[in-house]
């Protein structure tokens, strides 16, 4: 006999989880079916798949290592200089890539590192030759580092901030050197997050699509995701698309299992600084300051300069020209509608699933069906899911006619694991803190959800909805599969503009898209915070 009861939300959550599992399994089944038809053991096919898989693995591993190599010293430098306003600003800026559309980032990177970018112009004004074109493996790695080093910086700075202040004080009192401090104080905390962080960034780079498509520069630099897209949209080689998608799925599933083993449930939320720095021996030495300054300057040049390049190149007559395009306004409206709907849907479904998980956990019931449904969508990347749906539906409907619905569904499903993790962690801590009090005060069921849970969860709901909408607004993966001249979103329009070498208009579009993304994200986050602050019993 227990007073902790799961309530009706448990059944609703299980029903939703079953639906999600069914959809994922149907997509995987379609891929298996397609891969089995016209089975081709020709050595050139096997060789091609092996080459693509090998390159995908190589670039993802290298990206993860390079991002860590940049983020770790930067996190330490930030932590050492935590009281200075510019490092705090840097940590704030480090959040931007989390919501930034990949197409915008690619435009920004070209704006800095391209043949006609900021660096080239500076070199030319100094009489040096410009940089070579920014395409190929180097550009892909640069883009992945741009996206993932800030994520790593935030989590590593969070790990350093989690070290008890007493340990920093002891280190200061004992006069530990920088190296001793790293091994004795910082490493025990960092090593708990680094393996999971590497696995997460590897997964993100392994499933990278738009950046490789835009910056890869040709078939030599292609990943499984891009190859699936090519097989499906250009060659209409369904067996090949199916094989590649299954391979991608298997590798991703392996990484997700590894990630769960390394980090448990906590991979989405651990970020931010909590503790306070204690001045250490040598912190103010000229050499240390110079090294920290250099590290932070490199970090800024890789991660922050592209943002300024977008601003600098996006504002101007080209922005006015873009505003006059009918396709621009149509794409803006389409993108906004899909982003809003998919963001709200993802958050709503995640809320039901996370609430069901929390209620089942306190009642001592199994939560694995809910976790499995969510983890599956982390392993099934957008392109794999889209390919599965494409193959599944193509015999019964015109997939291009259903494009808006499919993009909405795909974007919602891709955002779901992130929204779920954000809400699930907070709901678990709320349950631990409020279960007994609510039971003692007879605050139960819908009344508890409306008066207690919802207001306390409002910031997380806003964050989840903002992040889901931002991810959807910036998505170019699903729309690449289903998009057409009749159905365009802003990222797709931006990609096509870049492909026509109209750099000025592309920069203006990138600025518009970035502005919209930040606006949408901020509206969700701020309105949820306000709603949570004032709620009357």
């Amino acid at each position: 006999m227990s007073w902790r009861r799961p309530g009706p939300v448990s059944g609703l959550g299980l029903g939703l989880a079953a639906g999600l599992l069914l959809l994922a399994l149907a997509s995987i089944g379609a891929l298996i079916g397609a891969a089995g038809t016209g089975y081709d053991t020709a050595s050139h096919t096997t060789g091609y798949i092996r080459h693509v898989a090998g390159f995908t693995f190589f670039q993802a591993a290298l990206s993860a290592i390079l991002a860590l190599a940049l983020a770790l010293p930067a996190a330490r430098a930030c932590w050492r200089r935590a009281s200075s306003w510019n490092t705090n600003l840097l940590i704030l800026f480090a959040f931007l890539p989390v919501v930034m559309p990949t197409t915008v980032a690619a435009t920004g990177l070209i704006g800095v590192w391209g043949q006609r970018g900021v660096i080239s112009q500076l070199l030319q004004s100094a009489g040096a030759p410009p940089l070579p074109p920014v395409y190929g493996l180097g550009a892909v790695l640069l883009a992945h580092v741009f996206f993932n080093a800030p994520l790593m910086l935030r989590i590593l700075a969070g790990a350093l901030g989690g070290i008890p202040q007493a340990q920093w004080r002891l280190a200061a009192q004992w006069g530990l050197s920088d190296l001793e401090r790293f091994w004795k104080i910082e490493w025990p905390s960092l090593r708990r997050v680094i393996p999971g962080l590497l696995a997460l960034v590897f997964l993100l780079c392994f499933t990278s699509f738009s950046l490789v498509l835009m910056l890869g520069g040709g078939p030599a630099v292609t990943t499984l995701e891009v190859s699936i897209y090519t097989a499906l949209r250009f060659d209409f080689d369904l067996p090949m698309a199916g094989k590649l998608a299954l391979l991608q799925l298997m590798i991703c599933a392996g990484v997700v299992i590894l990630l769960t083993m390394l980090t448990g449930q906590s991979w989405a939320g651990a970020a931010g600084r909590t503790g306070q720095t204690v001045p250490q021996r040598g912190d103010n030495a000229i050499a240390t300051r110079a090294v920290d300054g250099m590290i932070l300057m490199i970090f800024v040049s890789v991660t922050v300069l592209p943002l300024f390049a977008i601003l600098w190149r996006g504002i101007g007559p080209q922005l006015v020209a873009v505003l006059a395009w009918p396709a621009f306004w149509q794409a803006t409206l389409t993108s906004l509608a899909i982003a809003l709907l998919s963001g709200l849907l993802a958050t709503g479904i995640a809320l039901v699933l996370a609430t069901a998980r929390s209620r089942r956990a306190v009642a001592g019931l199994a939560v694995w069906p809910l976790d499995l449904a969510i983890s599956l969508y982390l392993a099934v990347s957008a392109i794999v899911l889209g390919t599965g749906i494409f193959i599944l539906l193509r015999t019964v409907a015109d997939v291009f006619l259903l494009a808006p619905l499919l993009v909405l569904l795909g974007n919602m499903l891709v955002a779901l694991p992130f929204a779920y993790r954000i809400l699930e962690g907070r709901l678990a801590s709320l349950a631990a803190a409020q279960d007994r009090l609510c039971a003692a005060l007879d605050i139960r069921g819908w009344r508890r959800f409306r008066l207690v849970t919802l207001p306390a969860l409002a910031p997380e709901i806003g964050y989840a909805a903002g992040l889901s909408s931002a991810l959807s607004l910036g998505d170019m993966t699903i729309v690449a599969l289903f998009g057409s001249q009749q159905f365009q979103t802003l990222p797709w329009l931006l990609y096509q503009t870049m492909a026509r070498y109209r750099a000025g208009e592309a920069a203006a579009l990138a600025l518009w898209l970035l502005g919209l993304t930040l606006l949408l994200f901020s509206v969700f986050v701020l309105s949820a915070k306000l709603a949570g602050r004032r709620n009357h019993a």
Binding site: W3, Q434, A440
Partner: protein, 203 residues
């Protein structure tokens, strides 16, 4: 009368406790003893957060062991986390009251005044001290009008003069309303000041 008869309880680790206690209406019982002897467990059993292996717990002869926490004739002030941080103090009190009493502003304000926290009604819990938070929780508990009040080291965060003031109010309310109060405390001065019986639990 609150009667705890032949109640035994075993924790998952194998640690066992047994209780035989009665508390009359209008009586305060201070439960004392070192850490780990089962003081909070006793309150959890009465409140319904734990279920005994055997025995009965009744109010005026009616065994309420089968009832969930919200249906028991009991109200509790926990050691901490008594307030919802997103609600003001007034909202924290109102949310715990039966609907018929939620708009009785005169009674609510009187409780705030009696416990020396008048003027904090519209403040958020994070903006007041730990002692004030506990008094808001106590105000709510008293307004809930349940015949059994459980206090789990609820006043440990208060300085001694404030604690004395709360005890005086508690004693008066207990007598007026004929409540049965169980009060877990580490400080022997508490039972001396309240002039109540004390139950010394031992390992």
């Amino acid at each position: 009368m609150l009667e705890i008869r032949g109640v035994s309880f075993t924790r998952p680790g194998g640690l066992s406790f047994s209780y035989d206690i009665t508390v009359a209406e209008g009586e305060i019982l201070a439960v004392q003893g070192p850490s780990g002897v089962g003081k909070t467990t006793l309150l959890d059993l009465i409140a319904g957060f734990e279920y005994p292996d055997s025995g009965s717990i009744s109010w005026n002869g009616s065994n309420f062991l089968a009832s969930p926490p919200w249906e028991r004739p009991v109200t509790t002030v926990f050691q901490s986390d008594n307030l919802f941080t997103h609600l003001t103090c007034l909202e924290n009190v109102r949310i715990g009251l039966p609907s018929i009493k939620r708009d009785d502003h005169a009674a609510i304000n009187a409780a705030f005044t009696r416990l020396g926290i008048d003027g904090l009604q519209n403040r958020l819990p994070d903006a007041i001290s730990g002692g004030q938070q506990q008094r808001v929780a106590l105000a709510r508990a008293l307004l809930r009008d349940k015949p059994v009040l459980l206090l789990d080291e609820s006043f440990s965060a208060l300085d001694w003069p404030t604690r004395q003031g709360c005890f005086d109010s508690l004693r008066e309310i207990t007598e007026t309303r004929q409540m049965a109060v169980l009060f877990v405390s580490h400080d022997e001065r508490d039972s001396t000041h309240l002039g109540c019986k004390s139950l010394q639990l031992t390992a």
